[in-house]
């Protein structure tokens, strides 16, 4: 079976809500039925075949070609299967996804993988603000799964994060790990200001020394036994995180945010 492929014919001026085009909703539909699905496009409703040419049969393996930054809600609440996005993706990519995999070749917008529950999201470009965060007003961000970003991420990555892993090969913006309840965010590049602002628990794993903060206390240098196990779990990824030379178990441990409950930690690689 060939992948169910949506090829964008032209870039609409207004944003498109792609949430109807997830594997579980297309599983039992004929190609004609899929083509007739309506998508919200700005204040209009458009048929799928008005903006996409559709081909293929395997709804468990969806490919979106010529994608660009106004295609929002791709893979919303995905329950299984695989979505490949060739190009950029808009906001709310993988919102609340429950299982399966999404891979984007380009950049993604705001709130990617926010309130994600399980599964795997790979972003080969950069990600916008609030990666893996909670929706505005909500208290619980990402609850499980793994997010891999090969580029940089915006501000507030992992805001209100509860569980799971966010792996960032590039840099992270300000307020990375803000209000985290638990989980792990690993950043190979640089981090911005207010790292771990108001974090309660959780781990920020860094390859580079962050800006000093009065809200985190130095707990000294340590060799931590869980780090080799964590790095071993990254081995299956197509990423720098799988590289043996990037792994370490000797870290400087900072505890905080002391203005919150202070059970979080920033672990910085000691070279």
């Amino acid at each position: 079976m060939s992948a169910l492929t949506f090829t964008l014919k032209h870039q609409p001026n207004q944003r498109v809500d792609m949430s109807p085009l997830v594997c579980q909703k297309l599983a039992d539909l004929e190609l004609a039925e899929i083509a007739a699905i309506t998508l919200q496009n700005g204040k209009r409703k458009v048929r799928v075949d008005e903006i996409f040419s559709v081909a293929g049969t395997d709804a468990q393996n969806i490919v979106i070609k010529n994608s660009f930054g106004k295609l929002d809600f791709i893979g919303k609440e995905l329950e299984g299967g695989h979505i490949t996005v060739e190009g950029d993706a808009g906001a709310y990519l993988g919102l609340g996804m429950k299982a399966g995999e999404i891979e984007v070749s380009g950049d993604v917008g705001l709130y990617a993988a926010c309130e994600m529950k399980k599964g795997k999201l790979t972003i080969n470009g950069n990600a916008g603000d609030f990666l893996g965060a909670a929706l505005p007003g909500n208290k619980m961000g990402m609850k499980g799964g793994i997010i891999l970003v090969k580029g940089n991420v915006g501000e507030r990555a992992g805001d209100h994060m509860r569980r799971g892993n966010i792996l960032i090969e590039g840099n992270a913006g300000d307020y990375c790990g803000s209000r985290m309840t638990a989980g792990t965010i690993a950043v190979m590049g640089q981090t911005g200001r207010y790292l771990g602002f108001a974090m309660r628990r959780g781990t920020l794993l860094l390859w580079n020394q962050p800006q000093a903060s009065a809200r985190f206390n130095d707990c000294g240098a340590h060799t931590l036994a869980f780090l080799p196990i964590l790095f071993t779990s990254f081995k299956k990824l197509n990423s720098k995180f799988a590289d043996n030379s990037m792994a370490f178990n000797r870290v400087q441990r900072y505890a905080g945010d002391m203005s919150e409950m202070g059970r979080g930690e920033v672990l910085v690689k000691i070279s």
Binding site: L224, A225, F226, L230, S233, R263
Partner: protein
Amino acid sequence: MIINGVAIDATFAEAFPMKATRAIITAQNEKWAMISAQAMTGFATSVIACGCEAGIERVLDPSETPDGRPGVSIMIFAMGGKGLAKQLETRAGQCVLTSPTSALFAGIDGGTRIALGKNLRYFGDGFQVSKLIDGKRYWRIPVMDGEFLTEATTGQVDAVGGGNFLVLAESQPQALAACEAAIEEMRKIPNVIMPFPGGVVRSGSKVGSKYAALGASTNDAFCPTLKGMTKTDLSLEIESVMEIVIDGLTKEDIDKAMRVGIQAVCDLGAANGIKRISAGNYGGKLGPFHFHLQEIMA
């Protein structure tokens, strides 16, 4: 059946269903992993008074352990799941948590999940940290030498306990040498432990006693000093009898261990004073697993 001058009795060992679990202890080096493992499996020769039977299964290469450090695999057997869980937790808390540089991991992925470090985390007094890695929950418990890392749960599976055979020899040193040779070979078999000291027991028991308070007493039929005083099972030249008891995850595992053990004894043969191999049973009425010696060695 006679192998190398050693008579194999037409009898069988009788074994019982048990519950078992396995844990992996790692440490900075093999010495300290072994110290911790020995502590955890200490005073666990028989369920009669120890609450469980435990032993070291084998030493693990760093490439085989979850954290890449030297390790030791241990197994614990008990008559029921509740007792097993209690023993595991108590021993993990007193013998592994306390042991310098140690970490503790599950040795069985499937089965019923029972607490390994799940409740030890409270020792962390609120400073403990949980990590969910590849679907497995770990606890990082701050301790004075750094951090004690433990997996939250391990697997409990159905198992078999009480496989055994008796080595009948012309002298005590010869019986012991034969048992040592057997144990050396049996330790190469996975999924089994020999829970008695050094794997060998010299005080095999029978069911019942002349004293009403006791459920078991010395196996007088196999006591060489009683040959003229009781209904003995020994010929005159037998001066010493020793037993090897085996607990295993399956009947097949015990079969294998018994085969290599008896073979090692027989390899020493009559020339080294080994006269007979026998086994302990209760007439076949108590235990559902029967290990017929001659079938095993056929």
